[in-house]
């Protein structure tokens, strides 16, 4: 059973924590990954910093800029993942990055490096279904789950193909726009989730804008198998704060009685 399958089989709401690898620098980044697990994160999503992150808002952009300014390279990121994998054999790790970094290394070599580092999945933010086929093929060849994105405005036929091609989980974009920590979350996903479920998609995880425990509860109540929180964690890292208490509060919300937001 894959690490994702084992995680979802536990039957509780999943809390995924995103950080940018190498932010603020390599040693600090390794310690932060451990803090996320200590705080209760069920799965870890890690960014490999790219110079031109068009899907990211100011918080994640700044994290990538800090990592690049610290001289962090993709090879360093794979080494960080490998270290994490050795310390935490059971916790799923997914890579989030951009197409140019995959193509610069060579698609095949990139997915091989992900596999050898112990990563479970790769999501390429600027590869939509329209361009996904060769990325999915390379991922599968190396036993890495290709995670695809679905959005509330994605047409039904495309959702069905995303359901069939994607593995690990489906990254559901909770609203239009780039990444960021929102005050309010917009949840209008009933039809999308129904289509994905009927097409046999892997479990839906909600991302983009999830920044408070009530967002976690609302997303789970709306039918998500879990959430990914990024900007709200990265903001705390930027301020030099410990992230364990925040992660613990967010994870605790996955056990709370679901309360729909109206």
């Amino acid at each position: 059973m894959s690490r994702y399958a084992a995680l979802f089989a536990r039957g509780e709401g999943v809390f995924g924590a995103f950080v940018m690898l190498g932010d603020p620098e390599l040693a600090g980044s390794a310690a932060i990954l451990d803090d996320l697990v200590a705080g209760g994160a069920d799965m870890i999503e890690v960014g490999i910093p790219f110079s031109d992150p068009i899907a990211d808002g100011p918080v994640i952009q700044a994290a990538a800029a800090r990592a690049l300014a610290a001289g962090v390279r993709p090879a360093d990121c794979f080494a960080l993942i490998r270290g994490f994998r050795d310390r935490h054999p059971e916790v799923p790790v997914g890579i989030l990055t951009y197409a140019n970094l995959v193509l610069a290394r060579g698609r095949d070599r990139f997915y091989r490096a992900a596999r050898e580092a112990g990563a479970d999945s790769v999501l390429v933010a600027d590869v939509p279904l329209h361009e996904a086929a060769p990325f999915v093929a390379a991922a599968r060849a190396w036993g890495v789950a290709p995670v695809l994105i679905a959005a509330a405005n994605t047409p039904v036929e495309r959702l069905r193909r995303i359901a069939r091609l994607g593995e690990g989980y489906v990254y559901c974009v909770a609203r239009p726009g780039v990444t960021g920590a929102d005050e309010e979350v917009r949840l209008d996903h009933g039809e999308m989730l129904a289509v994905l479920r009927a097409a046999g998609a892997p479990p839906p995880i909600f991302g983009f804008g999830i920044s408070r425990p009530d967002h976690v509860r609302a997303a789970l109540a709306a039918g998500a198998a879990g959430v990914i929180c990024g900007s709200a964690i990265v903001e705390r890292i930027a301020r030099g704060e410990d992230v364990r208490d925040f992660v613990a509060a967010m994870k605790a919300a996955t056990f709370a009685e679901p309360v729909p937001i109206d």
Binding site: D52, I54, R73, N100, A104, R105, P128, T154, P176, G177
Partner: protein, 379 residues
């Protein structure tokens, strides 16, 4: 999406999934408008009565050797070729029911053209512009604001301005059209912008036949993102005897890091939604480009140019900052025409290859008013 958006191995649509429906809508609107006589008539009328087409083809009286013809997009309303395709996209935006325009700009010419369309059609317009370009193109910044656009400076240059426009559009596509300024970006932009710029070469080809009774030996245009070059080249691609030459910014020299010569020094990659040549390091981090001309200061290039390079149909060469400035000054003195720094790159190469008996066609993509302050400091 009905088409792959590919030019050989290049092109495609590399954007977050959430933007795909906006590109679907744009592709459908563009393809429908191509078949719609009413749309084409409206665009043709705007090009003639608002923008001033056709633009002249001017034979240089004093520059040579040989016969050098200039396709005078500098005389188009707005001061550059950008207006051609902005009018097309603005009409499409109206047909799609969009109520707001956003755009990036480098030298400011695309921003000015978009601001003009915003004023003409009553659409609020926001222009993203790199802060280093805001600094060196002050006149165009003022011009955009005068015409009523909001100019938002972004740390960096044209690359960062496109990043920011894409982020805006990812959140605003429901009511906003992203009026991308060149043949780069995701499908359908490279195809659509080429079709709206094709008028440059269509006119020039007919004007050349009327003037010389023959086609030119070469058509030469500067290439940043590559829209004026594609516009000039498109109707000559089937004329195999006509050499197509794109002139990139060699900046301070092709062997240093300070240039914008993407096709000569870049590697295939993905930037701003398209698979194309990209100036980048070994890991795939995108490099900073450099050119004295803001409009050529871009580390990627339209995917059709990548295809024309790979297929060998077009050749891509460089002109340095210094060579462009010499050509800029020479054209002013010899012909009384002050062109944009960008266009001066194309002329610089034409002067390098001009021989007795040769007939050369140079795309003079824009006028140089915007560059006066910089020219005063540099010359």
């Amino acid at each position: 999406m009905l088409m792959s958006g590919r030019f050989g191995a290049h092109g495609g649509a590399f954007v977050p999934e959430v933007l795909m429906p906006a590109l679907d809508q744009l592709e459908a609107a563009f393809l429908a408008a191509q078949e719609d006589a009413g749309f084409q008539a409206e665009l043709a009328a705007l090009l003639a009565d608002y923008a001033g087409r056709p633009t002249p083809l001017t034979l240089c009286r004093n520059l040579g050797p040989g016969r050098i013809y200039l396709k005078r997009e500098d005389l188009l309303h707005g001061g550059a070729h950008k207006t051609n395709q902005v009018l097309g996209q603005a009409l499409l935006a109206g047909r799609m029911g969009k109520r707001r325009l956003i755009a990036e700009t480098g030298a400011g010419q695309h921003g000015v053209a978009t601001a003009m369309a915003g004023a003409l059609f009553g659409l609020p317009t926001r222009i993203y512009m790199g802060d280093r370009d805001v600094e060196r193109q002050q006149l165009n910044v003022f011009r955009m604001r005068l015409i009523g656009a909001e100019v938002v400076p972004v740390a960096g240059g044209l690359k960062e301005a496109i990043n920011e426009a894409l982020r805006d559009w990812t959140a605003s596509f429901e009511d906003t059209h992203y009026l991308l300024g060149t043949v780069a970006g995701p499908h359908p932009y490279p195809l659509m912008v080429r079709e709206y710029q094709r008028v440059i070469g269509r006119e020039a080809r007919a004007q050349m036949l009327a003037a010389e009774g023959r086609l030119p030996d070469a058509a030469i245009a500067c290439v940043g993102g590559g829209s004026n070059a594609i516009g000039l080249f498109a109707d000559f691609i089937a004329d195999e005897q006509v050499k197509l030459i794109g002139v990139e910014a060699a900046g301070k020299g092709l062997d240093g890091g300070e240039h914008g010569a993407t096709l000569q020094r870049g590697r295939p990659g993905v930037l701003h939604g398209a698979e194309t040549y990209v100036l980048q390091d070994a890991d795939g981090q995108v490099s900073e480009s450099w050119s004295v001309s803001a409009g050529l200061d871009y580390p990627a290039v339209g995917p059709e140019h990548a295809f024309l390079k790979d297929s060998g149909r077009a050749a891509y060469v460089g002109a340095t900052d210094a060579e462009a400035l010499v050509a800029f000054a020479l054209l002013a003195r010899a012909e009384g025409i002050v062109c944009a720094f960008e266009s001066a790159h194309a002329l610089a190469h034409a002067l390098k290859i001009a021989t007795e008996g040769a007939v050369l066609l140079v795309g003079l993509s824009g006028r140089g008013d915007k560059d006066m302050a910089q020219a005063q400091a540099l010359l």
